[in-house]
């Protein structure tokens, strides 16, 4: 199968066993994002230390394989990054992590956790 396939086994594994899935108490930042295509909702929480570095990330909600797998990979990537870095993060980062080409109709699915992140750190 194509290495850039959005449903390749590596991505399906993230869907079956998503990393950082759950809810934490007392997050530093949190936000929700809704996919207008299907109404799927994701809640993203971040715990940030005094130096502005992300220590812990959690996401929750229900979604399709693309939104869950990309949230799983993207939240893994966030840990250890500074808030400043996260604020300047765009769609390219998720594309790179997912290593997948995706059409415009399903792009919002893949970018759902990015939308939540942008909302969460918007005020900073």
């Amino acid at each position: 199968m194509d290495n850039n396939d959005i449903y390749r086994e590596e991505i399906m594994e993230h869907y079956r066993n998503p990393q950082n899935f759950g809810v934490m108490k007392n997050p530093t930042y949190e936000a929700e994002a809704v996919n207008p295509l299907c109404g799927d909702k994701i809640r993203l929480q971040l715990k940030v230390n005094k130096k502005g570095v992300v220590e812990k990330v959690r996401f929750s909600g229900s979604g399709c394989a693309l939104s869950v797998a990309s949230s799983s990979q993207f939240t893994e990537w966030m840990v250890g990054k500074t808030v400043k870095k996260l604020k300047s993060t765009g769609p390219d980062q998720i594309q790179e992590l997912m290593r997948a080409k995706i059409g415009p109709a399903r792009l919002p699915c893949m970018l759902l956790s990015l939308y939540a992140l942008q909302k969460a750190v918007a005020g900073e």
Binding site: I6, Y7, M12, L37, C38, G39, D40, S62, G63, C64, A65, L66, R106, C109
Partner: protein, 416 residues
Amino acid sequence: MIPKIRNQFPIFQKRGLKPLAYLDNAATTQKPATVIEAMDKFYRSQNAPVHRGVYALAEGATAAYEKVRDQVKEFVNAKHREEIIFTSGATESINVVVAGLSEAFLKRGDRILLSDMEHHAMIVPWQAAARLQVSTIDRSTARKKLKLDFVPLNSEGRIDIGAFKKLLAKHKPKFVGVTHVSNVLGTENPVREMISLAHKAGALVLVDAAQSIAHGAVDVQALGCDFLAFSGHKMYGPTGIGVLYGKKELLEKLPPHKFGGHMIAEVTRTKTTYAPLPEKFEGGTPPVAEVIGLGAAISFLQSIGLNNIAKYEGSLTAYALRALKNVPGLALLGPATTKARAPIFSFTIKGIHAHDIATLLDREGIAVRAGHHCAQILHESLSLDASVRASLCIYNTAEEVDRLVSALVTIQRKFQ
């Protein structure tokens, strides 16, 4: 018979490893060559403004345009040709009725009865009218409050007729809006019986025939409906054209919704009188080529025969209902038997999101719809966010159903 019909559709001529299995016909159907060619021919050799030009070309265009009105009149068995109004589609047809009734017929506090399986095109105009219309009857400038009630469905996905009777008796609604065939469940509603019950209770009835018009004979006089709406593009015709049928005496009283050229009798600085039917509702230059295309689509349907279409689609429905049972974890929405059922199959598969299913089916050349299909109230009543919908029509085959089922089995395995 089916290969011969299928060959009339240019979009299916492309061959390949994964030929197009187009199963999104409840959204829009493909177009036969006769429809495409009729519109092409009009633009190449007949194009002119209708109703006003005195030259031969314009007279020809007008005659062709008005001939389709006669064709539609025969097609739905209306009593008068002026009962056929050309609109941009079923959505506009419904909006004309809702706006006109709420302006000139309805008073504050009047009740409107819809069903839980209605398309947003029936629900949203009424919600807007219920809040915002200003009445010309009681001259109130305050916001008009109409009350909307919804008939629930039974466990099989059919309208609960007992509940319908009770709601008619309890609320004495002034209007009943009901879909002929559900665009999600495939349920064919007993509209004839419902219209008769509604009339006895004093309500006017609008039937949304968008999902039924291309799948069996629709006879407005036999049904007895006051209004009927449908779109051209769901019956093998072009987009941008639809029909509103209304009883003459009601359309004559209904105020127009679109103001401008052609819909007038006389315009002075102080006042305008409106044209008689059907012009009153057809302000502006109409979509002439689309009307011509609609005429060709009706001819296409009649060349096969509506009863033959219903018969073939019935056998396809029976086949699909059996075949879909072979997909583990598949839950079908709507009736599990062929009785009063259109070939529309919405479903969920346990543990797999509808959009993932649709994307993976697309890779096999199978086009389906995923989402709430403009029926969010229905999905909410079923406690679902989204479903996958495969909707079939006259050019679909049992082989395509097999391809769907086999692809779904593969997808189901992949997600385990």
